[in-house]
Symmetry: C2
Amino acid sequence: MSEDTASDSKCGATTDSTDASSKCGGSTTDASSSKCGGSKSTDGSSASKCGGSKSDTTEEQVTATADDFDADPGRLVAVGLGPGQPSGMTTRAKEALRAVDHIVGYTTYIDLLPDDIVEAAEDIYSTPMCGEVSRTEESVDRTLAGNDVAIVGSGDPNVYALGGLALEILESKGGSASAVDFEVVPGVPAAQSCAARLGAPLVNDTVSISLSDHLTPMPTIESRLHAAAKEGFTIAIYNPWSRKRRDNYEKCCEILLEHRDPETPVGVVHAAGREDEETEIVELRDLPELGETDLIDMTTTLLVGNDETYVWDGRMVTPRGYERKYDY
Amino acid sequence: MSEDTASDSKCGATTDSTDASSKCGGSTTDASSSKCGGSKSTDGSSASKCGGSKSDTTEEQVTATADDFDADPGRLVAVGLGPGQPSGMTTRAKEALRAVDHIVGYTTYIDLLPDDIVEAAEDIYSTPMCGEVSRTEESVDRTLAGNDVAIVGSGDPNVYALGGLALEILESKGGSASAVDFEVVPGVPAAQSCAARLGAPLVNDTVSISLSDHLTPMPTIESRLHAAAKEGFTIAIYNPWSRKRRDNYEKCCEILLEHRDPETPVGVVHAAGREDEETEIVELRDLPELGETDLIDMTTTLLVGNDETYVWDGRMVTPRGYERKYDY
């Protein structure tokens, strides 16, 4: 799934260090450590860098800059893990993770890593869902301190994920993308791994829209939904639901039903690649009620068909138009 | 890159058989072969199934049906190869290809396969760029004849590719998705593998649009471009140019410039993952002229930034909005 920006729960930064001689002990490391430090010295609490992201006004502060580090910077690579199982990773992603010293990521994604990669890493820094800014800053600080670092997430670093934030923070710290040899290793996005489970729902022009209004204002999201629904795109909807965003989901259903037939097939994929994975194909008219069930939550991706999408033998099919040109 | 529907060149079906005892000799196999046949008996020419797709009215015919095959059907899997290098494939894709008897695909994609997979396959059926309908039919026929078959393409089977066509043809032949255990193995789409080369151009809501009007009417494409450009989506443009589609590219530039600042960054990735790969970041105003150069052709993907996208240290960055909420 995508990195998300919601943060309803309390959470504290944790470090799963696999090496007692690690140069970076994660959030408990002393600031005098030559290869870490910088922004981490202001508060000894392991939860200090995560608690701030729970409201619109955050206390997260990024304070260290490139000048605070003596060492030559290391390499920084943003790695997409794909659908959630090690077998969904590319060979290149695995090689990239084996080549770095430190791996930084959301705990759930770190748990997805193959054992040999976890064992080979000098240090793993993980935080629960929240604090993506502090986590990303951590990856940048460790890089500027001279370590080769990977920041990981499921899906692809370019799909609602931290590839851009890493560059923004690097810039704000006076670093440069060239100096850290910044690289993005792409992965299979959630839209495509969910589509695969459903058949062929997205083979034509497609829009991806996140319903999270944490970073994008709701009127913008609504306007994009109207446009996508009107123009016959198939639509991949990320982050459809959380306690904070029930209204957004309901509004989304309303907009889709304004433009599309109530019988339009919609693929619902809950917790793709996890133990509680569940996949259903429903009709658009069923979506509002489905929002009351456990099927729709933060881990769900919706794939909305267009006017031509149909269901056949348990699969969603969006024709590309071959049937108008060829006999078969 | 995506499977494309253009077919400007003459082409003939070819078979790279790696096993002399192959049950299917590709397009030259006799119809009496128990595991092939069906639709292939009408014409002995190896080019017979590919020549028809060159115009709007095609002679391609899909004639064999599930009833024509005595055997229990095999398995059919649509496999996305990702960016074009073996290292960009997922472990699952490699395992899927090792598990099948036959691999069917466009010659360029077949050439991308790791040697051990090619050597292990009982038969490889490849055709040059054209005839995606006959190629897909070939994969369905071979499956119905009792073989386990993979149909492959670069990128993802759900992104302008053959996942849907395989299901459509299967249905038209009276087969069923369940009976052939139809499976899609997702891959990294071109939009994401190209975005990775450019930094973080697509981290927010994104549209993908193909400029090929072979299967989608140009007025629909234009209307979608207007909507995408107006609504602040980042835009991945597939199939921007061929001899037949120069007008579409020019029209696309015109529409984008109507809604977006001429200085909007646009990433241009030519032949991603191939020897003649070339990547440039230009301004939107430069696109029309660029269309006169070799940088823009069938193998090019364009990634158009939104109003907030900027270029920093050679990378395209589309902020997600963190900078409005956090200090860094």
